[in-house]
């Protein structure tokens, strides 16, 4: 019954490897996001998709590639992993222009990536 679920929860890998994190929401939201939280807890937006279309693409290395097969899913693929990619990655979703008129996010539990 989890509203926003992401897998895996933990990911430990070597530098140079390629890995993916998957996210699914069952809230019927039309917009999904990837945020990166660093070791100092700073939360920074990476990407946002609205109805499967990319609408936010912050300054993120092109080793990071999001993919949204449908409105309920947003995956994040990372190529050639580097030490600095170690962080917690959060998926979130929202309904733009919802009943409140404000953009309120529902977050997943996070995926902790450790690059050795």
């Amino acid at each position: 019954d989890t509203a926003v679920s992401q897998t895996p929860k933990y990911l430990v890998t070597q530098m140079g490897n390629d890995k993916s994190i998957k996210c699914e929401q069952n809230l019927g939201h039309d917009t999904m996001y990837w945020y990166k939280q660093d070791s100092k807890k700073f939360l920074k937006i990476m990407f946002s998709y609205n109805n499967k279309e990319l609408i936010i693409n912050e300054t993120v290395p092109n080793r990071f590639s999001p993919k949204s097969p449908d409105k309920a899913h947003l995956n994040l693929h990372i190529n050639s992993l580097e030490l600095g990619d170690s962080a917690v990655y959060f998926c979130a979703s929202s309904r733009l222009g919802g009943a409140s008129g404000a953009n309120v996010l529902t977050f997943g539990a996070g995926s902790r990536l450790t690059v050795l």
Partner: protein, 113 residues
Amino acid sequence: SQQGEEDPQALSIQEGENATMNCSYKTSINNLQWYRQNSGRGLVHLILIRSNEREKHSGRLRVTLDTSKKSSSLLITASRAADTASYFCATERAGAGSYQLTFGKGTKLSVIP
């Protein structure tokens, strides 16, 4: 670019006391939101205050907004050990079609039983 800045970075209080956290931001906003993050978990939305509102209450939470000073405060009354978490403010920037939320660095609250 970072929009919100919480203050203090860390706060430690005794159970039953009130906790006040502040947030400052830089640009005009549509609304300001507060989220809580328990250790090892995702963020959870707590309360939202719109730019034309000055104060909002929800249970033990009280939020104020001063758009002239570009600042907000979150007050948690009668704190409990379960309130121990990090608290983040997030601003939705004003502007047509604008909806992106920008988060601050958070205040880590510890409530001592």
